[in-house]
Point group: C2
Chain length 116, copies 2
């Protein structure tokens, strides 16, 4: 059994014009023997956002803390601690921080795609 705090995992940054203020961590993945799906934790700093994109695999998202918005089909919906988002395959999506504190969310993906 692996028991850690998510902040113990080294964070990856995203030096890109499409992403701002984002850090990502694989907290449970292939390296742990997790064969079916992979848990990542993302932090967006104040003013930060993820890329607006789509792909063939789904996301299962849970908002841990902070205040954000999620983009779906032309609309932005507010989310906060305890919000759950299911992003089906091939649906365009983006998340952004609209608060002052870090916006922290889990994003679980199936195995077989890049973990981060």
């Amino acid at each position: 059994m692996k028991i850690i705090h998510y902040t113990e995992v080294e964070a990856k940054s995203y030096p890109s014009d499409l992403v701002k203020g984002a850090k990502g961590r694989v907290v449970i993945g292939q390296a742990d023997g997790a064969k079916n799906f992979c848990m990542r934790v993302f932090e967006l700093s104040a003013g930060g956002y993820s890329a607006k994109h789509s792909h063939a695999f789904e996301h299962e998202v849970f908002v841990h803390s902070g205040k954000g918005m999620v983009y779906s089909q032309g609309n932005w919906t507010p989310v906060s601690s305890g919000s759950v988002i299911f992003i089906p395959p091939n649906e365009e999506h983006q998340l952004k921080n609209v608060g002052e504190e870090p916006f922290v969310f889990l994003c679980v993906i199936p195995s077989g795609v890049p973990e981060l």
Copy 2:
């Protein structure tokens, strides 16, 4: 895209001597078209605990809030907000609330087993 707060989902209770003060919710599952894995949110009230058991599928757990302990191989380890637990297949495990507030955690499982 499905966007909800986890508390909007009806909770299931566990009337059993093996479980105390537990409520479970499937927040993303087969009914949403999630084909690969299923996200559940569990709440253990003060003094509550899950069953001590093992099974052939893994758990990927993230602690949202509260203070708990997790059992592994004869030992109990404290966990709290932001803790991550990977429980491999067939490893005996149990979680309990050791705080005054509800102990809330996500538990993601592969598809093909009962969702709750």
